[in-house]
């Protein structure tokens, strides 16, 4: 029992007098990737609980949702990573590690694409909703470098999902996308977000959500192959409609206002 407790408190080294995480002594040594912060299981548990509470208390703390995802997802991320390895396109993504940010996107090229293409629609989504792909926080608390990339990719792909599903970035749209992601990835953070997100909705929105949007999102989530396996950067020219057909995503019920 004492050893179990000790192992929970001290992650790597077993020196009782210096229980700080072993890595992170001097700049860069022992860190698996830049921005990595090694944490003990106790710290991860506290972070998970604290971030969940804070995210509910203050929904504008997006960083808390990111922390929740990192601290609760270790098992699920492994499953996702293995699934990506089995798929040819997914394996390529894992190998090449593309990142989606304003510096890597060629906005001029996307602008020049024909209307209705995936790239053009994605750009329109960014403009209309006034979001940028650079607001995603870097991964910090995942203790495996490949899994850290997987969760980073998941975050960066989130905006693509908005485009594919045609959902805006208001709270209703975000909840619908969360349900889709929960069914697809089974990350605990998505499941929690999907279940607790609606807590702050009005009765009317809640009704629309439960009666039409959630069943639609769940159905599409089940039908579509894993969205992390798509090499989006190579599919900018593909017409959005064709991409939707390929994934089996049907048109959303028209009630959701706002554009995607």
């Amino acid at each position: 029992m004492a050893t179990l407790l000790r192992r929970a408190l001290f992650p790597l080294r077993r020196i009782p007098s210096s229980p700080r995480p072993a890595a992170g002594k001097s700049h860069g040594a022992g860190l698996l990737y830049p921005d990595h912060i090694p944490t003990s299981p106790l710290q991860k548990a506290l972070l998970a609980a604290g971030s969940a509470g804070m995210a509910l208390y203050n929904p504008y703390r997006h960083d808390m949702i990111a922390v929740l995802g990192e601290t609760t997802g270790c098992h699920t991320l492994k499953v996702l990573r293995d699934q990506m390895k089995r798929d040819p396109e997914g394996a390529q993504i894992l190998q090449e590690r593309p990142r989606i940010s304003l510096s890597t996107l060629d906005l001029g090229k996307l602008q020049s694409l024909p209307k209705g293409s995936f790239g053009r629609e994605y750009l329109r989504f960014l403009d209309v909703n006034r979001v940028s792909p650079d607001t995603r926080a870097p991964t910090r608390f995942v203790d495996d470098e490949e899994l850290a990339y997987v969760i980073q990719r998941y975050r960066e792909v989130h905006d693509m999902l908005h485009t594919l599903l045609g959902m805006p970035t208001n709270i209703l749209g975000e909840i619908v996308v969360k349900w889709f992601e929960a069914v697809q990835t089974r990350l605990p953070m998505c499941i929690l977000g999907a279940l607790f997100g609606p807590v702050r909705l009005s009765a009317q929105s809640l009704q629309v959500l439960v009666s039409e949007l959630i069943p639609w999102a769940v159905e599409n989530g089940r039908r579509a192959p894993c969205v992390l396996n798509l090499y989006y950067e190579r599919r900018w020219e593909q017409p959005l409609r064709a991409l939707r057909e390929e994934l089996g995503i049907t048109a959303p019920p028209l009630r959701v206002q706002g554009l995607a």
């Binding site: 229980p19 992170g24 002594k25 912060i37 506290l46 972070l47 604290g50 509470g53 808390m64």
Partner: protein
């Protein structure tokens, strides 16, 4: 005889040497210093002293100042909230105990270094005001047979409710001072308070100016603690008191709390790294006895310390005699 002469030279040039060290930045000048053994010692100390610690990280000395500045710049707005969370509000008790130990009387000139958000300064003002009022009440009670004119004059002379006390809050960080000034304004503190931007290793004050020098939870962030102690010695009047409230080595290592603090920092303030630095810098700080010796080295006498809350913090006290 050679020995006593060098001893005399040593004690004479001790203070002058430290000032010379500050003023001349050229190592060449130091090596040509007439006192041989002193010069050699300085050079070797200089070589060893180019690196220092920032928490558990090893950084150069120039870097440490900048990094510490960034930490406090980012935590300034949530500093008080985080103090409450991390110490469960007990930090207020520690600061109250510091004031009680100080027991300042009206007329005291206090220098509070690294006192950014003003906790010690405000407590000091409350304390001397209460003391001054108590004294005045006693005076009035003792003088029973006053004429109406004399009583009226006493009420008119109520300008200085502090009895001439003054606290100078000095901090190297602009953000912390801003937060402190705002707090003072919100709580209505005006008289007897001054805010100065300054470095504890090189204070912008003349010699022999203050009655009391305090530094609460600040000295572990200073790059050269010995210089800060020497500066403290310089600006105090003879008979002046040095008081330091700082984290110390615990008797029962509270392992969990050091793990919890960065987590709290992340959840409440969105800032893991600053609180990780805090935890590491506490670990790196010398023990009660070692710090006592450092204070004695700076020239203070009658140095004592008192551990609070089983050693989590300690108040060190010394006198300039």
């Amino acid at each position: 005889m050679a020995a006593p002469r060098t001893c005399g030279l040593w004690s004479y040039c001790g203070r002058g040497l430290s000032r010379a060290k500050r003023n001349c930045g050229l190592p060449g000048l130091r090596s040509s210093w007439p006192w041989g053994p002193l010069g050699a010692r300085l050079l070797s100390q200089e070589k060893r002293a180019t690196e220092t610690h920032f928490g558990f990280e090893t950084v150069s000395e120039e870097e440490k100042g900048g990094k510490v500045y960034q930490v406090f710049e980012s935590v300034a707005k949530k500093y008080d909230v985080m103090n409450d969370m991390m110490s469960l509000g007990i930090h207020r008790v520690w600061k109250d105990l510091l004031l009680r130990k100080m027991h300042p009387l009206p007329g005291t000139q206090l220098l509070d270094v690294a006192g950014g958000t003003g906790d010690i300064a405000f407590r000091f003002l409350n304390y001397v005001q209460a003391q001054h009022q108590g004294k005045q009440k006693k005076q009035l009670r003792a003088q029973q047979n006053l004429s109406w004119e004399e009583i009226a004059k006493k009420y008119q002379n109520e300008e200085d409710s502090l009895g001439g006390s003054l606290v100078m809050v000095c901090d190297i960080n602009r953000e912390m001072l801003k937060v402190g000034k705002q707090k003072a304004f919100d709580r209505g503190y005006k008289a007897g308070l001054a805010w100065v931007l300054g470095d504890a290793e090189e204070l912008p004050f003349d010699d022999d100016k203050f009655d009391v020098y305090t530094i609460a939870f600040g000295i572990r962030n200073v790059t050269h603690i010995d210089r800060a102690l020497q500066e403290a010695h310089r600006v105090l009047k003879p008979g002046g008191r040095f008081l330091c409230l700082e984290f110390s080595q615990v008797n029962n290592p509270l392992i969990s709390s050091f793990q919890v603090i960065p987590v709290l920092g992340e959840v409440v303030a969105g800032d893991w790294k600053s609180y990780q630095y805090l935890v590491e810098s506490i670990r790196k700080f010398p023990s009660q006895e070692a710090f006592k010796e450092m204070i004695e080295d700076a020239g203070f006498q009658k140095v004592t310390y008192e551990s609070l809350t089983s050693g989590i913090v300690a108040i060190h006290s010394g006198f300039k005699l």
